[in-house]
Symmetry: C2
Subunit: 418 residues, 2 copies
């Protein structure tokens, strides 16, 4: 069987299981989630042994340290996979939920019912915990899934998948509801991306290169997350203490996350008050400042920013700073250079807060809060499969609801259309 | 300027206008809709004159009668375009609507705001009224649009677009918010389908061939409508009078619409009661019956159905009939052969109604009503841009809401993430 046939077979099995998953009771789905959590904990040593094989191969191949770090399974990561699954079990079941009913003049009553998407394809890189997290979210949302993890994590993923199959079976659900791609031939990814008759949506999890390639090749709809070039705009009327506190947090609480601030915009009328304080704060944290010409009046020791800086996701202790004339310039800058991910305004001016909210075209727009809050857990989704920078279907953090759709339902009483 | 550059220019103009449209007030948008409606009526004779040119060209090219029919503008169609726009003006404005607010443990308040998609590309065939309808829906939902109508309707479309530009301008909105593609070189469609940086979604309006080609080539997300192979299942417990009335309506009220029933499934225990009556009804209406072997016991004069009949959208006075053993066989048949458009059950059995509702994987699922109700107007959307047979983003009739997305908004009070 060649790799495309292999993928087709897995996806067909998943598609068949999807109709059973769509009708599975909340109780059964939660039982499966809790079973899998317990099996992960009970078989922790097997998982870590499988993971050691992956780590040995990766070391032999001289893969870099951050990759090895992402690849490593420990007692702690196994525990957190189990906790994650148990938490998903506690979330409300979105499937079957009916809403928006209205009687129409014809006499029919029209409403909507939330339903699964069907088969979700997840394509991810080295982190083996994604195998459990993604399977858990798909399972709870009534979907089947095809999981294609990185070749470097194949032993870990296979060991985790075996327990997922077992947990599904124990709950009376088809083990084919989760299908791990065990042949990690690169062409398998291509086959998934073309399988629009079998896979309903693809969620890539990984670096920008992977996601861009997938989005470009896919014939299946993709829920994608490209970069996070997040801004904070300190308006003229901002509370200075608040502005400083938020801007320090948004930049320095973590450097490698997509919701970290990468560019700070400062209203010219508050620059003299806020920039010297922020300079000191950032100096203490070792953050390199790249600034516009105007802002160097207050940041004389900073590096001059070049055009590229406004469009760069540093994922590092570097911050671009620009002084703007007014809120309109700030909004224009954000909509032009940003990545439509998350942007915040710090202001005490009501009209400006409303204007910013409406005009900034980003998946999350915040007033007086740190961009670091843009996250499924912080938003109360319970868990997230990713953050979408698209506008179609799901925007921003994608939780269970993003893995569902709504169908129309009609309650009639013998009505015909005249 | 070659055709791709031309499309890029139009799409860029639309993208620039989109940010203004996103912030336009309801009042301004409604004024534009009403202006355009009035201009269409005031300039009816110009429109009909332009349309005569198109009709003359089409006749010279020997285009077929149904196409000429769809192409023709009359005083009545102009009136109905104007009425349609005025009706869109009366619909609630979806943009800016905030919902789903909740305080989170961190102190932030998280909710959603409904926002436009940005630039909508509409690709359609001969009907010039789509120019006004689609522009109206995009305008009310705060989007800009690029309209690419068929070459055979170019004079009519250009005349309509001129009035749309004028109506926008009179309302103080950018006339570039609606861009008609005046160069109908076929490669222009390809250029639109590739412009994923400028166009946010493509809505094709036309035959299955056009839609399938667009879905296959597009790099931009597509809200598409393929075929409508709609089923009605008469369950054993159905009220016979109701079943007959609905099945006659679902098949014969119009033959060429996507929500017309194409296959009738009948429970074996009610076949003897319902099929002879339906045979008489359909004979009177001239409907050809293609039936399964089992059903020919009660339909001896019908034609034997072949495998292809179960997967055919006839759009004609032809009906496929199959007798099934039970509701499970009916659901399996629908999910396998149907097009996930609209399917109905006629039943008095509560458990069966619930099972059918949940298990049938279609954009509209109905109990005791005619499939012909699957329509934006009948569902109360006010107007529709199309019916989606996809699950991603929008499913079933797509109205104003389908042309929008939701962004997350966060009201903070200085919160930082710890």
């Amino acid at each position: 069987m060649d790799i495309s046939q292999y993928i087709q077979t897995l996806a067909k099995d998943a598609k068949n299981a999807a109709s059973i998953m769509a009708e599975a009771s909340t109780e059964q789905k939660n039982a499966a989630l809790n079973n899998i959590a317990q099996l992960l904990l009970d078989n922790q040593s097997d998982l870590i042994r499988a993971n050691e094989q992956d780590l040995a191969n990766a070391t032999a191949k001289n893969l870099d340290a951050p990759l090895l770090d992402r690849l490593t399974l420990t007692a702690k990561t196994v525990q957190s996979m189990a906790d994650g699954l148990r938490q998903i079990a506690t979330l409300p079941d979105p499937i079957g939920e009916m809403s928006d009913f209205a009687y129409r003049p014809s006499g029919i009553q029209v409403g909507k019912m939330r339903v699964p998407l069907g088969v979700v394809g997840i394509i991810y890189e080295s982190r083996p915990n994604v195998t459990a997290d993604a399977a858990g979210l798909c399972l709870k949302s009534g979907n089947a899934c095809v999981l294609r993890g990185g070749s470097e994590a194949i032993h870990s993923n296979t060991a985790i998948a075996k327990l997922i199959y077992q947990g599904l079976k124990m709950a009376g659900l088809p083990e084919t509801a989760v299908r791990l791609v065990e042949n990690t031939d690169r062409q398998g990814v291509g086959a998934m991306l073309q399988a629009s008759d079998l896979i309903d949506v693809i969620v890539p999890r990984g670096g920008k290169g992977l996601v861009a390639r997938i989005a470009n090749e896919a014939r299946v709809p993709v829920i994608k997350h490209l970069d996070g070039i997040c801004h904070t705009f300190i308006d003229a009327s901002a509370n200075i203490d608040m502005a400083v506190k938020i801007c320090v947090n948004a930049k320095t609480s973590r450097y490698g996350t997509c919701n970290t601030m990468e560019t700070l915009l400062v209203h010219q009328n508050i620059a003299d008050k806020v920039l010297p304080i922020l300079w000191t704060e950032y100096q203490q944290k070792g953050v390199e400042i790249r600034s516009c010409e105007k802002s160097r009046e207050w940041l004389p020791e900073s590096i001059a920013a070049v055009e590229d800086d406004w469009a760069t996701e540093y994922l590092a202790p570097i911050l671009a700073i620009k002084v703007v004339e007014n809120i309109d310039e700030a909004i224009c800058h954000i909509n032009h250079y940003g990545s439509h991910h998350t942007d915040a305004i710090i202001t005490e001016n009501y009209s400006h807060s409303q204007k910013f909210l409406r005009a900034v075209d980003s998946s999350s727009v915040m007033i007086n809060a740190s961009t670091r809050f843009a996250d499924g857990f912080e938003y109360g989704l319970g868990a997230e499969i990713g953050i979408s920078t698209d506008k179609i279907h799901a925007r921003g953090p994608v939780g269970l609801e993003g893995l569902t759709s709504q169908k129309w339902i009609v309650f009639g009483h013998g009505e015909i259309r005249v």
